[in-house]
Symmetry: C2
Subunit: 193 residues, 2 copies
């Protein structure tokens, strides 16, 4: 859309753009979509609110840019089938410990339809595709992926959003030990009667 999106032409305002994006991620993660105001984000980035509009068009556009998120799922075909669950939990925990993008997306998905749509895309597309790689009943892959998403998002929700004390205090490794068997069964277990 922007006239300079054609090539690697570094702009003088790239630093400002990045500062806005960083501040936006922080605010969206901490406050959610509606409480995170453009004025507050601009103040954090130490620029004028009108700059945000010029560079990202609107608040929705800013959020779309700030909540870009890739699960970066590993290639599951090269994982021993018996360790799929463990690999997945560990990957998820490592992926978003310290990266507030997912927290921003998670918070916003509760109230912002666009964010929910993006969340659906991430987990329905990326995760379902990954689950589909190790061939099982194709009719079940979507359900398996959905179940994995339910446990994984529940983990994120209770640990980073609601901050349930037992879920916050438990170390990542202990969480992996508890939750890996769950994902393992959702992924490879035989469907219940």
């Amino acid at each position: 859309m922007t006239p300079s999106a054609q090539s690697t032409q570094p702009r003088r305002s790239d630093a400002t753009r990045a500062a806005i994006l960083r501040a936006a991620r922080e605010r969206f993660a901490a406050d959610g979509y509606e409480r995170a105001t453009i004025r507050a984000i601009a103040a954090d980035a130490q620029i004028d609110p009108s700059m945000v509009m010029r560079y990202y068009g609107s608040k929705e556009g800013l959020f779309a840019a700030a909540a870009e998120f890739d699960l970066r799922l590993p290639d599951l075909t090269s994982v021993p089938p018996a360790q799929l669950g463990e690999v997945l939990v560990r990957h998820f925990l490592a992926r978003w410990e310290g990266d507030e993008t997912l927290v921003a997306l998670l918070r916003a998905a509760s109230t912002n339809p666009g964010a929910a749509e993006r969340m659906r895309g991430i987990f329905a597309d990326q995760l379902t595709a990954a689950v589909a790689t190790f061939g099982s009943d194709p009719a079940l892959t979507a359900r398996r992926a959905g179940l994995v998403a339910s446990q994984v998002l529940g983990l994120a929700f209770t640990r980073y959003i609601v901050r349930l004390p037992p879920m916050v205090d438990t170390t990542p490794e202990e969480l992996v030990s508890w939750i890996a068997p769950t994902l393992q069964r959702y992924l490879t277990g035989t469907p219940p009667s």
Copy 2:
């Protein structure tokens, strides 16, 4: 707090109060805390916005009244230990299918600190208490309850908030079959090494 909270004195405005509460629950569930405006709630209840303020003091007060929620957990001591997981999932699904209070609480908990606090109270207190009834290692009950909460809230989040297609399309009974073993292990399984 209100001067008439002392006894069963039916007021003429009870119908209005109830209408406000019903509209508030709907709006909070559908839009979240900040998007649900007092004006919209009042319009749904077909009264003036100032009535909401008079009867509930503030928007926070209205939400506190509308998001009153009791898990109504059954007495787990009278449940065969091997069926704890199944009983629990079934209870949760039945409890909030058709009752939008929890959805309201869930949506609001992402952005409203008070709602998150209440959510913490519900799941940390009520659920932990229920888990503690069938005696196991007291040092583990909090963690077991937290894990159960993570799966149960993840189920609610993916099914009612994000609306992941596979989680929406699956029937409650099928969900019970898949998820019951998870809760069973979180509740009674031996802790991983």
